[in-house]
Symmetry: C2
Subunit: 337 residues, 2 copies
């Protein structure tokens, strides 16, 4: 690889001048500029981003810490959005390992040793030690689905609360009164917002809250199976269940069918996320849509804004959610009216 010295020699100028041409400084004569450009062309010279970063302090690299498997469809869509927003931005994406439970590992040290310009963090809860360190470090940060902020840290999430609220209302309007809720991880930011939405929905429908109808899960398929199994043992089993994720809704449906009942004939089911599979599933899943791709795009756009100007206020953005009605919900069979 040709270096800036080679170009300078070829063009018969100093390296400082070459640097100025590369960086579009105005105070270079057209004649010199042309000579340099020719030399660059001739030698196929490309500036070394690494070396440049050492002196400018900018790496043109954005880190991403994702503490959830890539095979999670939600993660995949988020990454797709991140990728889209990064394209042509000049920034490259670096994945940071997620050894969050290894005390010898420091996420911040990692960011510093790599000179990262900013990071987006997904799937780490607010109270994890590294979150606090990160906020204090002053590295521009966007949290996805984590309710944390700082001088240089913003966050972005879906309107989870209203989403579940809408799901409950939808079921209410179909005549359901015994509406169960398969909750997400307790204490988890997103899980709690959705749980609050469930109560909102009941309240708006004047349905009394009944503890038996709320089962905790962890968003997974398996937790859907387990949760539904419990609900089916209830004396007055629910006629509908709202789930805190599509994956757990699939588990719920599987469990219902394994017990010889049908969806939505006997029990209606609503998911949350609107992952790709929701449409493919049989029955196609009624669910709450999240604009995950948009969240990925915006997280990067906002992050870059923060990187570019140190007084860009760290944003807190909430993306709207929406109800997508498909085949897994229907009028309540034993409607009380």
């Amino acid at each position: 690889m040709a270096s800036i010295h080679d170009v300078a020699k070829e063009a018969g100028v100093s390296v400082a001048t070459v640097s100025k041409v590369i960086n579009h400084y105005p105070d270079v004569s057209d004649k010199t500029r042309k000579k340099v450009k020719n030399a660059i062309e001739l030698l196929r010279y490309r500036p070394n981003v690494i070396a440049r970063g050492l002196v400018t302090g900018r790496s043109w690299t954005v880190g991403v810490l994702i503490n959830i498997p890539f095979t999670n469809p939600y993660v995949a869509m988020l990454l797709e959005g991140i990728k889209t927003a990064l394209e042509d931005s000049g920034y490259d994406l670096m994945r940071l390992s997620a050894r969050l439970n290894d005390p010898a590992y420091s996420f911040i040290d990692h960011c510093h040793s790599r000179n990262l310009d900013g990071v987006v963090v997904f799937g780490v809860e607010k109270d994890h030690r590294s979150i606090q360190e990160l906020i204090e470090s002053g590295i521009p940060t966007m949290f996805v689905d984590t309710d944390a902020t700082g001088l240089r840290a913003g966050n972005i999430t879906t309107d989870n609360r209203n989403g579940v609220h809408m799901a409950v209302r939808h079921l209410f309007e179909l005549g359901h009164r015994r509406i169960a809720y398969l909750a997400g991880t307790p204490g988890h930011n997103v899980g709690e917002s959705r749980r609050a939405g469930y109560r909102d929905g009941l309240e708006a429908s004047s349905i009394p809250y009944c503890e038996d109808y709320v089962v905790n899960g962890d968003f997974s398929y398996d937790s859907g199976i387990q949760g539904m199994t419990k609900l089916l043992q209830l004396e007055r089993r629910p006629t509908a269940v709202v789930c805190s994720s599509d994956m757990s809704a699939f588990g719920v449906i599987h469990s219902i069918e394994a017990h010889g009942l049908t969806v939505p004939g006997d029990i209606s089911v609503v998911g949350f996320d609107n992952i790709y599979e929701a449409e493919l599933f049989k029955p196609a899943l009624t669910t709450i849509n999240q604009n995950i791709h948009a969240i990925g795009v915006k997280s990067i756009q906002e992050l870059i804004s923060m990187i570019k100007s140190s007084d860009y206020p760290p944003p807190v953005v909430t993306e709207p959610s929406s109800l997508i009605v498909r085949e897994s919900t229907a009028t309540c069979a034993d409607s009380v009216g």
Copy 2:
């Protein structure tokens, strides 16, 4: 952030000595080593990987070029494998943009300007200009599912040919004789291997090859729908169809059901990939399993071996495939015997 100079000053030694301690050189007295270690601890010093890379020529960064959306389940699993193998290796992963069709963009320049130690490439066909450039560049490379090699470039893929062969044999043993094939992209390495496997399977079963029973697709859901629609218009429609991907198999099944027929009652369907959804789908999909995670892991392991020693021969590895029988295949109804 403390620099090596700060540590040297704090410890009362030269930066050269600090460097030796960091890099575990043996020729440092225990006393000095201790002083330096204390200073490092005290200042929370972490070496700057970027600066180090500038002088050593190693960035401890591996690039990944993936020319397929992250939302593709296959890509997600591959990444998961890559991630696993990278953990604790000391290498970080950088995603490279895939502006392969932008003539102004050079993938190799990108690798060089980022000082990448090696790259894994997925979803780019052998004849793309950047592949040739990459091979010539001498950057250690592992191609996934692309049949390219070079002095410093190896590849890894699934035994695609035998996979489809097994699928055909499975159907044959169930009594099927009119076995159609929904092919992948023509000219595509993986597509062609699987196509060859189809012919192998017919031959081994003494079934004559019939052109009408082969429809081209591009691995997508939509191409499955379109392909099956064509096949259903045939006078003697097939009793079974082997698909070149699970996604296209889902499309095929959708199309069959849309025509009022059932799977596997009327027509048996086999997929390829064994993505997560294959098991969730109804009917659960009989398919050919690829060890995608293992491919991800091995691609990185081999790449790192190549990086570490310049005479490590570029590997060409084929992962075995296997048949997973589920619910989408059954004995042929109108078996000819």
